[in-house]
């Protein structure tokens, strides 16, 4: 109401008085809007993985007389990579804490640790896939293995893309330091990383644990 009756000059003056704070808030709103946009992307990714899980569950028995998951999946490597990814989700959270403290070195260090853990995860996954192909289960062997490689591979691809992004962000942080823009970028990559961990938990539970039980 006060807004409606104030003269243009008054409104302008009022705006001018709060200019510093107002501008900062606008900027902040922009950044939080971008974070929300990223959140919406994650929701679409939830649906993407949902379709792949549905496919996997429907085709889990269609091995066409070939090898089954229970025969070929090796749990030792998977257990190690699961704990690696769980830990990396934790370390990406520590990176955000360091960022909130304004500690650039700490932020870069913990992001780098997260990236190294992520790279080990991808390395183990590639090894596992090579082992499976060597044992005679590739993406064309049967409907089961098609669903398996597409689901697990899509997750692995997400982790790999996240790694490239994280390395680029570390370079940018070392040049520009902690600004509102780099802060938002760190928050969304950490959201992305936690999200990948959640997806992996379901891959681990549904594909591996249920596959070998």
């Amino acid at each position: 109401m006060a807004h409606a009756v104030s003269t243009p000059a008054g409104a302008h003056g009022g705006h001018g008085a709060g200019h510093g704070g107002g501008h900062h808030d606008d900027h902040h709103d922009q950044e939080s809007l971008k974070t929300f946009g990223f959140w919406l992307f994650l929701i679409t990714d939830v649906i993407l993985f949902g379709t792949l899980f549905a496919t996997y569950v429907v085709l889990r028995l269609n091995t066409d007389g070939g090898p089954t998951g229970a025969e070929l999946l090796e749990m030792n490597g998977i257990i190690i990579s699961t704990f690696i990814l769980l830990t990396s989700s934790f370390t990406s959270g520590i990176a955000v804490l360091e960022m909130n403290k304004g500690n650039k070195r700490g932020l870069i260090l913990w992001l780098a640790i997260t990236a190294v853990l992520g790279a080990s995860f991808v390395f183990l996954e590639v090894n596992e896939f090579m082992h499976l192909v060597h044992e005679g289960a590739n993406i064309g062997t049967s409907a089961y293995w098609s669903a398996f490689f597409v689901l697990v591979g899509t997750h692995g691809l997400h982790v790999s893309v996240g790694l490239v992004w994280m390395v680029a962000l570390i370079l940018q942080l070392s040049r520009r330091g902690i600004t509102p823009v780099t802060k938002r970028k760190v928050s969304i990559i950490s959201l992305y990383w936690h999200f990948l961990d959640v997806v992996w938990i379901f891959v681990f539970s549904i594909v591996y644990l249920m596959g070998v039980m």
């Binding site: 919406l40 939830v46 769980l86 959270g93 959640v198 938990i201 539970s205 644990l209 039980m213």
Partner: protein
């Protein structure tokens, strides 16, 4: 100003304590189904149910302790978008399982 800072802290960060608690929970929730499956401790149905419950709890732990979904300010658009996504997810997964089970019976 102090109030504003406190809010900003809650909105983005959480604390070291919440991350450590979340990490411990996620480790425990991973180990429980792993031990049960590797030692064949329960029947097939019971194991399946246990694995799914642990996975869903793990999802909740990541959302609450790591992604701070509870700290979101009031119009909770993030939460709403998430619920919308989960409804679609459940429809796709449960619908596919249901219709393909029926398909197997028919043929």
């Amino acid at each position: 100003m102090e109030n504003h800072n406190a809010n900003a802290h809650n909105a983005h960060g959480g604390s070291m304590k919440s991350y450590v608690i979340g990490f411990l929970f996620s480790i425990i929730l991973t180990i429980i189904p792993l031990v049960v499956v590797m030692n064949d401790m329960l029947s097939k149905t019971a194991t399946t149910v246990l694995i799914l419950i642990m996975a869903i709890l793990q999802f909740a732990v990541q959302l609450i302790f790591f992604m701070h979904i509870r700290d979101e300010e009031k119009p909770r658009f993030n939460l709403m978008a998430l619920i919308f996504g989960l409804v679609i997810l459940l429809t796709i997964v449960a619908g596919s399982i249901w219709i393909m089970t029926y398909n197997a019976v028919a043929s």
